[in-house]
């Protein structure tokens, strides 16, 4: 009630605040897509565990996840070759059992720099490697192609590179959502001051969105004080993301850091497991909060690269290459490991070091987008130039 009232009030002030074309677009029935970027290169071999490979256990004497044998710290069987980290058993494991989760191993990019920053940037741009367009991200191009069906937003402090070049795509962090600092008169003054400035849309959209979020989550502050146990970290944010995605947005981005585990990453327990636990709970909370809309939602969890297959001298892993992508959604054809695979052994490693990439991220995301929104080849070419979509029939 209050929110609806607020929205109509906002609509009335729109002309005063100027152009805010991307806000409150609220398209009719269009699928939702959320991209979750794990920054730091998560160690996929300890998440999607190649338990059929003796080489895995030889390569990780201190940090391997135990073969599935029924104990809580063992990996959870997914198929004959792969098992899931126990830290994800309750969250992603449960979704997998309902066929609402799938994994694509040997996924990633041709970029072999093994640099976090270079590889994150090149993936976010989604262009052929020989192209250096610095302000041109693939999610922005996707938003452009989708037009009114897009309603894009980033749930981050800063606008991510992948939304760069898409016009004025809004961003808002949902970590802290207190009272809005400016009332409508003040917001109109401030955005009016920028009326002839290239930051005008950023100023006007930001002020509006900030007011909206404060209103939307006003009840949260009290609720969170009451039961503050899980009211921190990614899970709470993910629930808020779900509420905004349910109502207004269709194309979202969020990133999660802390995956660069060079030292003491742990196995079934420890640093990586704790991160996975938080991430898994958050994604499960996101699915739950979307309610029936979860059936019309796809989440892709990606990272810039995998890590060295062998553990290093410090019970951690160094920068590698191929990684595993996760796809989640109420209506996906999940419960399986998708894409090209090879047997995991030393001879199939890239440079005797890390996983090769057999499933190019542009091809597999392109294939996904094609099915999700019925994009044609010309439209896909705009999102991922010079890439042939690879349809894994996951949606």
């Amino acid at each position: 009630m209050r929110r609806r009232h607020f929205l109509s009030a906002m609509a009335a002030t729109l002309p005063a605040l100027g152009c805010a074309g991307r806000l409150f677009a609220a398209p009719a029935s269009a699928p939702r897509f959320l991209l979750v970027f794990l920054r730091g290169g998560y160690d996929c071999a300890n998440v999607l565990v190649p338990y059929a490979s003796d080489f895995y256990f030889e390569s990780r004497p201190n940090i391997a996840i135990a073969r599935p044998a029924g104990k809580t710290d063992d990996a959870l069987v997914l198929d004959t070759n792969w098992a899931l980290a126990p830290a994800l058993r309750e969250s992603i494991g449960a979704l997998y059992a309902k066929k609402q989760a799938a994994f694509v191993p040997f996924a990633g990019t041709d970029d072999l720099s093994r640099s976090h920053f270079e590889t994150q940037d090149s993936i976010e741009r989604g262009l052929p490697l020989n192209r250096h367009d610095f302000h041109d991200g693939f999610m922005a191009r996707l938003a452009t192609v989708l037009g009114a069906r897009a309603a894009p937003i980033a749930f981050t402090d800063a606008l991510p590179l992948t939304f760069d070049g898409g016009g004025d795509i809004p961003n808002v962090s949902l970590r802290n959502v207190g009272k809005a600092p400016f009332d409508e008169r003040q917001s109109a003054m401030l955005s009016g001051m920028y009326r002839e400035h290239h930051l005008h849309a950023a100023v006007a959209d930001g002020l509006q969105l900030r007011q909206h979020v404060a209103e939307e989550f006003a009840a949260d502050a009290q609720a969170a004080n009451r039961g503050a146990i899980n009211a921190r970290g990614f899970a709470l944010q993910a629930e808020r993301v779900a509420r905004l995605m349910r109502e207004q947005y269709r194309l979202g981005f969020i990133d999660v850091g802390g995956w660069d585990t060079h030292v003491n990453q742990g196995g079934a327990q420890g640093q990586l497991a704790a991160n996975l636990d938080g991430l898994g709970r958050g994604l499960a909370a996101y699915a739950a909060a979307l309610g029936s809309e979860w059936n019309d939602t796809v989440v892709a969890v990606i990272s810039e690269f995998g890590r060295t297959f062998r553990e290093n001298g410090n019970r951690g892993t160094d920068h590698g290459h191929g990684t595993a992508y996760w796809l989640l959604g109420g209506g996906i054809a999940g419960g399986r490991i998708a894409g090209e695979q090879v047997t995991v052994q030393s001879s199939t490693l890239l440079q005797n070091r890390d996983f090769p990439v057999l499933n190019d991220y542009r091809a597999l995301l392109g294939g996904l987008f094609m099915r999700l929104w019925g994009l044609d080849r010309a439209q896909l070419e705009r999102v991922f130039p010079q890439s042939t979509p690879h349809d894994l029939r996951l949606v």
């Binding site: 302000h135 402090d157 004025d168 809004p170 950023a202 030292v263």
Partner: protein, 521 residues
Amino acid sequence: MHASSTPTCCLIKFGVITLGRSIKHCLAATACACLVAAVPMPAYAAQANLSRDDILWLGRITYGVDSASAAHLREIGRAGFLDEQLTARDDRLPAPIQAQIDAMPISTRPAAGLLADEIAEQKRLRAASDDPDAKTAARQARNEDGNAFLRDAMRRHLLRAVYSPAQLKEQMDWFWLNHFSVFARKGAIRWLAADYDERAIRPHALGKFRDLVMATLTHPAMLQYLDNARNARGQINENYARELMELHTLGVDGGYTQHDVQELARILTGVSVFVKAERPGRRMLQSDGLYAFYPARHDFGDKQLLGQTIKGRGFAEVEEAVALLVRQPACARFISHKLAQYLVADEPPATLVAAMSQTFQRSDGDIAAVLRTLFESREFAASLGGKFKDPMHYVVSSVRLACDRGAIADERPLLGWLGTQGETLFGHQSPDGYALVESAWASSGQMTRRFETARAIGGNYANVLACSGDTKGDTPRLDGALYALALKPYLAAATRETLEQATSAREWNAVLLASPEWNYR
């Protein structure tokens, strides 16, 4: 844009390409209007002979104009001012500020003792009671002590940024802290951040680049942060070796390979944090009580780095490798480009970067010399007013304007504003440091956060400013002599109109600090 942006948006966007240009345009118009209307000049400005360019120049060389820096520029002119800044001739703080810093524990407790204490304390905590809750509580209490120490490191850095007359040195201190970024919440770094700033970065901020690399390489904060403390023969950890080339010296396109990363990691084996109990193996070759070179952990084989053979012989390999890295043309270009991005433009002109690179190579990486090339260039002059302030510049310049050398009653809110704007000191988790370009700071979410800071400073809601003579909590007067000198004559029509709409002094202040003119330097 396809379909979704409204036409008005597009018109506006293309109509004003950069603020630098729009400001100049607006300024020309305003200046004429002033002459025609014969608006009486304020007394302060009547004595002044600082041009608009002088003001913008001063705003770039310093963190932001204040009355003292303006007066000093009038007195000695740009050439003298630049000389003083490049040599940091005077970096004395006002006595009460210096006294405040002297009273901080970071000024009295040497880092070597802190590190030893922290290592012992962590050991004790690990061995302590079996009760996991008690263990967690003890660990949290210990971290709180460390966080208080860290906050002092941040406060000192900010106080210097606001008050030091050596404004360029303070900016470069921040720049290099960011270039050789460490994250305080890892390991013992919260205890080491103060020393890292004080001994590894600040003394070399305008010195030789090579010294900066060696000082950071051998500082325990960096050794812990990028894991070289763990890098040993047979237990290679290549984290630091990679970032030393990618982020600190050559840049990702600097021409090195994965093999170079592995070889550099071998060269760096044995450079670690000093631990008293550690058996040095053979003779301990190097230590200052904070870092140590442990020969027993070093790989003494020969290495190939960037096509050169480095003879295996101990710590001298590290010095040879660093010397090799910093004399690469790629290093000169990479560092020059980043300096120019910080001090000139998001996409600095290639001609300028080339000239700076030449100076870098000719002067053996003399930072002050490279900066002189930058500041004396035509490209620099042409860039004035067009660089978006990152949060650090925004907060410090705003406090300099609002306080104008008056005392800050409580500088802790400054840390809070940097935090909400996403640029906490020692707070960047990944080693690339904070971005230096407008697009990283001017998204819709960030502009709103910034305006919240404008409101807090303008209304003094955080009770920060007790400018000289005022009572704590008074609304600062931002419409005084400094405003008349540095801002008022140059405001665009939209800003002037919006200021007129303000219904209180607090709101007027917030509008001024939120204005486009104030957000660029």
